[in-house]
Amino acid sequence: MSLFRFFKSRGTAPVARERLQILLTHERVALGPRDLVAILRDDLLATIARHIEFDPEKLSVKMDRAGAFSTLEIDVEIPSDKINSAALRRTPSTQASAA
């Protein structure tokens, strides 16, 4: 069995993988910014967690659409002692600038 298989071409899984990757890239775009908020939330979580210890549940990200504009609302609750200890670890030059 395995000898025959050795001489046969490789399995079909790589084809499945490639087809899915192409299809899903397309579908994710076609279905709109489906989880843009979720993607942003995950990225924000990772970024903030690099600098400050905080409860991920206390991060709220909301996107509202009104006419021609969208607003992105980011709300993070951080205990003040964490801010102080994070500031001590950082030098002023690496301070994050708020957009």
Binding site: M1, S2, G11, L20, D35, V37, R41, L59, S60
Partner: protein, 271 residues
């Protein structure tokens, strides 16, 4: 603190009901209070998989519409004290469930249980959306097969947009439960690998359940694999998944059912 988990997939037949029952049993075996809830109105099956099909008197819709008290509709498992089932209605149509009704019942369940596992119907219609609506976390059940992976991707998108938590700007944890996995075929390149599926769906892994004859045997007799057979690989995989769900760190092994002597001699080497 109680957790509401939706077990969902988009595609049908991938193992949502089996997984709900098996994980529910495994969690309840540790003494935690667990309620498994069937959201598949019109096509209920969780009762059958749990061996409780003849004990359903009142169902989810009766409670949601106020025709029965929750306590009257809950079916306590005869084997595990801390495990309860809330069956779906077999006769009513799926529009009988409303957002408000479901929210109230889920709220009541939160008061009495540590875990509420919602077995979602297949599809992305109203029933599936209601099952995920009030969940804190999701278990996405996926087979290593193209149509299942595609549908899971769709469901992940819905979890991130249509749930109450998502609408409030909160996080909904999503974890992948890869079912019907065949390590041999995957090693031979005939089946998507665990890494492939994780890479495509990019959500964390809850567990890998091997394709196993024990699953059919378990549903035949109405006793999930985690209830009996301590030796079953599928049972062990479900127990590990339940422990991870509860926050424990359990090392992931890729279960390989067919590591017999003959296979070792003649088959390709397993990774």
């Amino acid at each position: 603190m109680s957790k509401v988990i939706v077990v969902t997939s988009g595609k049908g037949g991938v193992g949502k009901t089996t997984s709900t029952a098996s994980i529910g049993v495994a969690l309840a075996q540790t003494g935690q209070r667990v309620c498994i809830v069937d959201f598949d109105v019109g096509l209920r099956n969780l009762d059958l998989v749990m061996g409780a099909e003849r004990r359903v008197v009142y169902d989810f819709i009766n409670v949601a519409q106020g025709d029965a008290k929750l306590a009257q509709a809950l079916i306590r498992d005869k084997r595990i004290d801390t495990l309860h089932l809330l069956a779906a209605s077999q006769t009513r149509d799926k529009d009988a469930l409303t957002d408000e009704g479901v929210e109230r019942v889920i709220g009541e369940l939160r008061d009495s249980f540590d875990w509420v596992l919602c077995d979602s119907p297949a599809g992305i219609e109203r029933g599936a959306l209601l099952a995920m609506r009030f969940a804190d976390q999701a278990v996405v059940v996926t087979n290593p097969e193209v149509s299942s992976v595609r549908d899971s991707d769709r469901i992940i998108g819905l979890l991130d947009s249509k749930t109450r938590r998502a609408e409030r700007g909160e996080r909904i944890d999503k974890q992948l439960l890869l079912t019907r996995f065949d390590a041999g075929r995957s090693n031979r390149g005939e089946m998507l690998s665990v890494a492939d599926v994780l890479d495509i769906l990019s959500i964390p892994l809850l567990g890998i359940i091997p394709e196993s004859e024990d699953i059919l045997r378990a549903s035949n007799v109405g006793a999930p694999v985690t209830m009996t057979g301590l030796t079953s690989l599928a049972g062990r995989a479900y127990r590990d998944a339940a422990r991870r769900l509860a926050g424990e760190t359990v090392p992931t092994v890729i279960p390989d059912e067919k590591k017999t002597l003959l296979n070792r001699l003649f088959g390709r080497r397993a990774a």
